[in-house]
């Protein structure tokens, strides 16, 4: 791990950049050692910016364009095992093509950081955002976070290495960015200076787990049934420890950079006195907040809860935020064919999380914005109206509704 950063990023600066560019800059700030790439839209914008930053001398890294997504994720897995800070990413079916490498990365407790430029899964070939690609790793030991702005993309990437490389965790971390709305839209972002980043983010030290000639070890053996449950239990404990490490990392982030969200887990918008709370992830926040501002002006008690960490799931925080409201409308930018109530992935996890509560809000599932379809204010109003109707009648007529789909 050499420090090769140049004059760039010596002072904090404001830039007009996309979410992808923000992540690429985070790679430079974090002085990542090995970055692998294989093009697929919309993630590929990251590799464009990484190669430009490297060419401009902003940082030095081994930048390897592999021959497939699978190899791309295999390379960072191995690099991470020998102690290199790594970054990788993909989108849609590219992420799925790498799935074998992705799942073993978590199994081997390697802190790879990946960006998922959320994209609809084929077929049909489509470039717009759906969350099913990243959600596929929800059970595998990957931490999974949905950002809503380019600023949050940059900050979260820095946090991701901090958390993933903590020896108490050593789990991979996926930063999910909505295709187009984040990956291809430029916003004003504060880029911190690299001194602060170095202060926040020490070198990755794999300690006695590092694969090195001076530390002869074997990684990834075969086992029989007499070993596996204990291994799985270790990974589960690591994810549990992550729930402690995450708030610590956020506190330190605030101390070093002088800014940061109140909660790492969730963003609450006008939820305090809300009777209806809508829940969603990613850039869905924008139209929902706009709609809620307008509804509040009409005196309607509506709020929004944005789930940021999907894994580890913020069970307690979400319970606290939702226990007092009358109805919860979960807007999933994903689908789960044949799931309970045919609800979305977020909906079913959320409903399970609230089950032990004494008093449940009414819970309605909505599927919206698939394939990148814009979620409009009128769509949000429809969701609120259906939640209100459930409150007024005391019953849910339809557990799952698809919003703005042509009949």
């Amino acid at each position: 791990m050499t420090t090769t950063q140049t004059q760039l990023f010596q002072t904090e600066k404001e830039e007009l950049i996309s979410g992808s560019e923000a992540i690429a800059i985070a790679c430079a700030l974090a002085d990542v050692d090995v970055i692998t790439a294989y093009p697929i839209r919309p993630y590929d914008t990251v590799m464009q910016y990484v190669s430009k930053l490297k060419a401009d001398g902003a940082f030095d890294c081994d930048f390897i364009v592999a021959e497939s997504e699978h190899s791309q994720f295999e390379i960072v897995k191995h690099a991470s095992a020998v102690g290199a800070r790594t970054f990788c990413g993909s989108s849609g079916v590219g992420w799925f093509y790498a799935m074998e490498a992705i799942t073993v990365t978590a199994g081997l407790r390697l802190p790879v950081v990946a960006m998922v430029g959320n994209r609809a899964l084929d077929d049909p070939g489509a470039f717009g955002v759906e969350h099913n690609d990243a959600l596929a790793v929800r059970d595998l030991g990957w931490m999974l976070y949905w950002v809503a702005t380019a600023q949050e993309a940059l900050d979260t990437a820095l946090l991701a290495w901090k958390i993933a490389e903590d020896p108490r965790v050593f789990l991979p971390f996926a930063v999910s960015c909505d295709g187009s709305f984040l990956t291809h839209s430029q916003a004003i972002v504060r880029v911190p200076d690299n001194k602060k980043v170095r202060q926040f983010l020490p070198n990755y030290n794999r300690g006695k787990l590092q694969l090195h000639p001076d530390n002869p070890i074997t990684v990834a053996p075969q086992v029989n049934e007499d070993w596996l449950m204990e291994i799985r239990r270790q990974t589960n404990e690591a994810m549990l420890r992550a729930t402690q490490v995450i708030p610590e990392a956020y506190d330190e982030f605030k101390q070093v950079f002088g800014r940061g969200d109140p909660s790492p887990w969730i963003e609450e918008f006008m939820t305090e006195d809300a009777e209806i709370v809508l829940v969603g992830m990613g850039t869905l926040a924008m139209p929902v907040r706009v709609a809620i501002r307008r509804l509040r002006e009409q005196g309607k008690k509506v709020g929004f809860l944005r789930v940021k960490f999907f894994r580890p799931f913020a069970t307690e925080e979400i319970r606290n935020a939702l226990s007092h409201c009358k109805a919860v409308g979960v807007i999933d930018r994903d689908y789960s064919y044949g799931s309970p109530s045919f609800g979305g992935v977020l909906f079913n996890d959320l409903r399970a999380a609230l089950y032990p509560l004494q008093r449940h809000p009414l819970m309605l599932s909505f599927i919206a914005g698939l394939g990148g379809r814009e979620v409009m204010v009128r769509d949000v109003n429809q969701v609120v109206d259906m939640c209100q109707k459930a409150i007024d009648t005391g019953k849910i007529e339809q557990e799952n509704t698809w919003i703005a789909v042509r009949e």
Partner: protein, 384 residues
């Protein structure tokens, strides 16, 4: 004004960097005035292709809350200014990102402004622009459309002139001072800044009243719902082609009814049917199967499906038999062969005049540039 939105309608690849420079400079300039902004391209079901109409947006607002009304969208709902950097797109734009032909002024607010770079007089442009029920303003920046490539940029100051003109026609957006300051910050030279200043000084607006403009109804399509859509993701093949105009002779391929392609064109082929040797090369090489085979064995470029790539011109072995001519010269997509059949002499006069004018201008919008070609053109196109 709390939120101001600007769109740049440009030709894919050729004008991408130009559009990006414009929208980014707008956000930087607004930042100088303490406003907040976003810049983004119209995301679509394809990376952009050569010449296809595409859009980039700049949206600025006084507060983050106001800006949020325009985030996580593909396009602004309406814009204060539409900037069209190739006047041939005044005829309407069709893209892989949407179905049907959109009028160039579709998003322009009532009372808003359409800025066009053009050598045509306002009256000729208005003939192409679709009529609307609300008035808007037209502002022309006299220049040739600035085309370059994916990896090269033709730095002919078109971006500067547009930004200068923009500050004039839309003072709610940013002042010229802020724009100049932002451009300076980006390392813009004094020569370039003077182009922005000149455009600001000279730009005027012409009101376009309701009822002025093209009466053509833009083609559009209704998309099916999930109940009527065929399952299994199949697309039925199009019918086989048949005889020319439904007759027994010649050949006319069937074409995609819902994607016409012609608005991708900034030049079109003009054919001299009298010197054609019927070698078939244009018909074979056309990547869009746009040639109809006429009953007399000639090849008529169908103007509904021609993208204007110029391959036919380059493969044609007969000098001046096929000539690519600026699309701005034409007001319809009618068949050249039919016009020639009707009156060969008139056609010849019309064709000869067009070809001579094109050759005299020596300007091509795209394709077949030699090394150093841009540098020569820049000298000619800079603020004449």
């Amino acid at each position: 004004m709390a939120t101001v939105a600007v769109e740049v309608v440009y030709r894919g690849i050729y004008q991408r960097t130009l559009a990006r420079n414009i929208v980014r400079s707008i956000v930087f300039a607004a930042r100088k005035e303490g406003k907040i902004g976003t810049a983004f391209g119209r995301y679509g079901d394809s990376p952009e292709r050569n010449g296809i109409p595409a859009k980039q947006f700049a949206i600025v607002a006084d507060t983050p809350e106001e800006l949020e009304e325009n985030l996580a969208v593909y396009e602004a709902q309406e814009v204060d200014v539409t900037i069209n950097v190739d006047d041939t797109m005044c005829k309407g734009i069709e893209s892989w990102a949407w179905y049907g032909l959109e009028p160039i002024n579709k998003l322009t607010k009532p009372g808003g402004t359409l800025i066009v770079t053009s050598r045509q007089p306002a009256e000729d442009l208005i003939q192409d622009i679709h009529q609307r029920s609300e008035p808007f303003n037209l502002s022309i920046i006299p220049s040739t459309a600035s085309f370059s490539g994916l990896w090269v940029y033709k730095d002919d100051h078109t971006d500067m002139r547009i930004l200068g003109a923009l500050c004039k026609v839309c003072p709610d957006l940013v002042s010229l001072d802020s724009m100049m300051a932002a451009l300076k910050d980006q390392g813009t030279s004094d020569v370039k800044l003077s182009s922005a200043q000149k455009a600001y000084d000279r730009t005027t607006q012409r009101p376009v009243e309701p009822g002025e403009g093209s009466t053509e109804v833009p083609f559009s399509f209704d998309l099916p719902g999930w109940k009527s859509m065929e399952e299994g993701l199949v697309i039925r093949g199009i019918e086989q082609g048949g005889g020319f105009r439904g007759g027994q002779e010649g050949y006319q391929p069937a074409r995609n009814a819902v994607f016409k392609k012609w608005s991708t064109r900034s030049m079109r082929p003009v054919v001299n049917f009298e010197t054609c040797i019927k070698c078939t090369l244009c018909w074979l090489q056309c990547p869009d199967t746009c040639f109809d085979v006429t009953p007399d064995g000639l090849f008529d470029a169908n103007m509904e499906s021609c993208c204007g790539c110029g391959v036919c011109e380059s493969v044609c072995p007969v000098p001046n038999c096929i000539t690519m001519v600026n699309e701005a010269e034409f007001n319809d997509n009618n068949s050249e062969w039919e016009a020639w059949q009707k009156d060969a002499n008139s056609y010849k006069q019309w064709m000869t005049a067009l070809v001579e004018k094109q050759q005299a201008a020596g300007e091509r919008s795209h394709g077949f540039h030699h090394v150093g070609g841009y540098a020569e053109e820049i000298a000619n196109s800079r603020d004449s």
